[in-house]
Symmetry: C2
Subunit: 405 residues, 2 copies
């Protein structure tokens, strides 16, 4: 086996690096990229200027032969300090990593940017995914840019507006009726048969892309990592990627500590949290998943078992929040100046719950990953009290006078 | 008059810097900020690391006493090289400055970020604007973050969805019936009466915020400025700000050249282009303005005359494009991986027209400013041919086989 390879996250069984969409034949667990990572000088990060992740963080992507023309300016998003909430909920420090500033306005672009590098390097001319939402838009954007014919597979209940926002990038949309769980497995076979690189949620290269969040936080916090990092928990890929990034920073001797991860699911779909609370080693399929914006709605997250294992290793926190907590968190975030989609506000809702339950100390420093833009799912705004004043121009001064605080 | 002051862009008449919403009493033209700007060392830019614009570009904001806590991570957007279009339309170099990566997903945040600094420094506790669109959302986000009571004035035909996307930030929305031109003037009086800092399109501090686009382009292009810069032309504030930035780079002895600006309006509202074509010194009010997404729809742009004057000084290009050219440009941009709102695609449509008309040479290097996200106005997607295939899971291989190229 060459230096760079894939390995099962559970048993460590090794596979060649050029496989795609493969899980461990023994464990049915996801694979991850293994590569030679030596020590990196402590001041290495201070000298970095390139924007393209594979150049900026080159030692952590030594197995890639990256093509910067496939990039879209993903990552390098703002770390925004809390203006009001820090004092309100009682934390020593609180920042928001604003992933809505990515090219298609969600964190998914970090994963897709790395995945498309792999697809191009392996000679694929066709790219695709299974998603009606953030991942679909991201894969459509990068696939089109790379000049690949791009195939987006959708559940059969997806509204037209969501499909329009994918196909504008030039992707072909297929609304597939039938069992969704089966569809996932069939896609792996179909991708192999028709040379389509399906970038699915447990593509090891997606996870590699999410590592950049750890590296950026290290840079932006000038080496002072937060105590806690709150992350919405869907498939588990984002969670795994961030953790792998921190593990690699430690392996490279750049840091010695790791932030604790707070993974948060909505009550409407909490398979990973439920398995954790029951002390299970394997997640169980969640029945009748329903979340506010359908983003965190995978009933059987492909990286769920790995999240459980890592969580036990690193003593993280897993929580679920209800719809009202999510909506409250959305409004609180908006008052800080960040309009997030409900799935993204889930992380803040979990952090607030963790503080209320005294799971974390009030002198803690926390970062919340805000994964996607509120513009991705405006219908949720109907959940809020709506207030608007109609007024004749002549009456405006009087009306303003009564409104002014 | 102190070193820093406001001055009429036409006659140069000086005003104190602490005035807001004031136009020249003699010329009825906008004012701009004047301040002491010495030479800046050529390698000064290479040493900059701060993200906050007023720190990163400190010599160009020496008149501010900036508060970084009011910032939201505006600017520092990606400069994305063209993947396909450069060759297709025949240019030596073509890049897109992706302003959709700003905190509220349009370039307006650069202006608002600077405007709110002024509001806070002058002691205002109330902030506001007149806009149902991008500026409204931006002002709402920054106003709320600053803890100011924020007032957004709207035309009386604005749909509820657009208001929801403003009020989520905590701003108060007022739908005002009556003459819209009068409303603008009345707001200036009302702002003075009720101590509301209305950040309107010709606020000199907004223009100061837009200067950052020039500075970032200089940094990102490593000192090699493009020959042409295509910009959508609305109120004229963005255009003025970018130009002022390049003028200041030259005054500071950092550059000796200036890119030529290509200002583009939609045929549905082209007061500045029409005045230019007629050789007028003052724009005329455009009757029955109607554009695809209502963004570039100000029939009497407050900075229009100044655009005309500067255009003659610097030999820029002004063009208008029709709806089909805008929609075509939107699709072309999407294929590069950037989904822009129609107003933003206007700039690319103008550049393409300029190439077709041989107004610019094919060995030119051009940058297009992509001002705002396509998620801001999804209804326009209905203008495109919509294609989606419904398929039973069992039939998917056959259907894919016929779709594959």
């Amino acid at each position: 086996m060459s230096e760079s390879h894939l390995a099962c996250v559970k048993c460590g069984h090794q596979y060649p690096i050029n496989l795609i969409n493969t899980r461990c034949q023994d464990c049915d667990e996801p694979l991850e990229v293994k590569f030679e990572l030596g020590k990196v000088a402590k001041d290495w990060f201070q000298a970095q200027h390139a924007d393209f992740f594979a150049e900026r963080y080159a030692p952590f992507y030594s197995y890639l032969n990256p093509d910067p023309t496939l990039a879209l300016g993903e990552g390098q998003t703002a770390l925004v300090p809390s203006a009001h909430l820090k004092a309100k909920i009682g934390l020593k420090d609180l920042c928001f990593k604003n992933e809505t500033q990515n090219p298609t306005w969600t964190f998914k672009d970090r994963g897709t940017a790395c995945s498309i590098q792999n697809a191009a390097a392996l000679g694929y001319k066709r790219f695709g995914t299974l998603s009606s939402g953030n991942m679909g838009a991201s894969v459509a954007a990068y696939g089109g840019r790379a000049g690949m014919q791009t195939f987006i597979m959708l559940k059969d209940n997806v509204p037209r507006e969501k499909i329009e926002a994918l196909t504008v990038y030039g992707a072909l949309a297929f609304k597939v009726s039938g069992d969704y769980g089966q569809l996932y497995d069939r896609l792996l076979e179909i991708g192999a048969d028709y040379n389509i690189y399906f970038s699915l949620s447990d593509d090891p290269l997606r996870v590699e892309g999410y590592k950049t969040l750890a590296f950026e936080l290290f840079e932006q916090m000038q080496g002072q990592l937060p105590d806690y990092l709150a992350v919405p928990l869907g498939s588990g890929g984002l969670w795994r990627g961030i953790l792998k990034g921190f593990e690699e920073l430690r392996a490279a001797d750049i840091t010695s500590t790791m932030p604790k991860l707070i993974g948060v699911q909505a009550q409407g779909n909490s398979p990973t949290v439920d398995a954790f609370e029951k002390g299970l080693e394997r997640i169980e399929r969640f029945e009748n998943s329903l979340t506010l914006d359908h983003v965190l709605e995978n009933p059987y997250p492909p990286s769920g078992n790995q999240v459980l294992r890592k969580l036990r290793t690193y003593e993280g926190i897993l929580l679920k929040v209800n719809n009202q907590e999510i909506l409250d968190a959305m409004l609180l975030l908006s008052r800080e100046g960040i309009f997030a989609q409900p799935a993204s506000a889930t992380a803040l809702a979990g952090l607030i719950q963790a503080v209320k339950k005294d799971l974390i100390a009030s002198d803690s420093r926390a970062v919340v990953i805000v994964t996607g833009s509120g513009l991705k799912y405006p219908p949720v705004l109907k959940e809020f009290n709506f207030s608007m004043t109609s007024v004749e121009l002549g009456q405006l001064p009087q009306v303003l006078e009564s409104a002014i605080k």
